[in-house]
Amino acid sequence: MNRDKRFELIARANSERICEIAERILADTATAVEVIKKPVGGMIMMRFRDTAEKCVFNLGEVMVTEAEVRIDSELGYAMIMGRDPETALAGAILDAAVESGHTLAPEIVDLLRSEEVRIKEELQKTWAKVATTKVDFEVMA
């Protein structure tokens, strides 16, 4: 799992599961977690290309929380949608933990893979429901 994929899954994963494993890393006295950027709320201005004239414009801002930490010499970064300092910090810790080869790294990767499956299944479930609203036109004779 590369860094980009890891970032995306941390951002979408269940926050309780992310925080639980981050707490175990923090409780581990052998690991020093240095906070580089405290989790702060901020905004990303979301840009779209309009499909009528192909003009790029700013639709509006999205609330996010980002954090950055260092474990050993490896940086970890996470951004979460919404106002959620705890999960953003936990996410950054997980990112750094995997990068620095922490003993919990395999468990983190397993967790993210299982979240990936869950997220995909949820989307498929939603789509399956939406698909039932497709219209079958009958032409009147």
């Binding site: 499909t51 414009f57 801002e61 609330m63 996010v64 979460i80 939406v130 698909a131 609203t133």
Partner: protein, 366 residues
Amino acid sequence: MGYVLVKGGSEAIKNAGKLVDSLRSAPPVEVPQIRGRLRLSVDQVMGEGGLYAPELAALAIRQSDGDLVAASFLIRAYRSTLPRIGYSEISDTGDMFVLRRISSAFKEIPGGQILGPSIDYTEHLLDFGGMGVMGDTDADADQEFGAEKSDIPKFKKVSDLLRDNGLLEDAFADDETSDDARDEPYDITRESIKFPAPRSARLQTLARGETGAMLALAYSSLRGYGSVHPTIAELRVGHVSLCIKHPYTGNDVSVGDVQVTECEGILSGVGATEITVNNRFSLGYGLVFGQNEKKAISMSILDGTMRVSEPKTPAEDQEFVLYHIDGIDAMGFVEHLKLPHYVTFQSSLDRIRAVRSEGAGEVSDD
């Protein structure tokens, strides 16, 4: 005469707040309840507040006792305290996870008409069966739908079909205020709008406009105070990824999904209007946060009306439309009338008294 500082009323103000609390008679509503049960209100507040943050919008609705413009104000004020981390990569609604997409222009569209979550097609009558406690949704009721798992498709835009058939004006064809001269789209949160406003500024202003104000202006065009009465090529609701550049890898990565409603209106149709010199249609465009179909449609209409070079009606006048659709500006200005104007009104009073006493050939009455 300058402004005079006055003090007083702090006790009354405190008690006025307490009195509001005392009117909140039912048990407190939890924020997740508002988010889950009043989702269209939440969507409206996010759009008009200009900040996509469902939890905070729900909180704002509760704090403002359900006044959506006041809730949008709280969101707009909160956003002004947040740092701007940056701009996203450019999102494309062609990549949308579609929950709903319909076309009024064509019966058969590739991928089909998908009604999605909508009560448009059911009777609009008050349901007394729902009085008291609303039923819980059954999370495991999927089989009710007869739903079967299948791969999630992407849908080709109806406008692309029109374009492929040479029926649409090329982008930027004859819009002298288009953005092709600008590298960066306009950002009305950083730079005040100037007229004539470039297209990116118009779209951004419309996207954070107040639903009711936009509905009224769009309706005025439909009723004849303007020339746009579009046919909806496609209306879609769904989720689009928020993408940024990863700070370490420099690659595009997705942070999460944002729900939007998009409307592409063909600026021609019933009773209609404008077929361009090249015998082609042009499109009006609407895109808004959340599920807010009347706003997205209104936006596409106003995008169309404002292209007229010599405005003859309010809906055609950029300045009129863009200056009056902001709910927070409008509310602020109208509601400020409740604040003390004792000194300014005193001067009006003095003037009218002076005029009247001159007329009566008297001096002053005091």
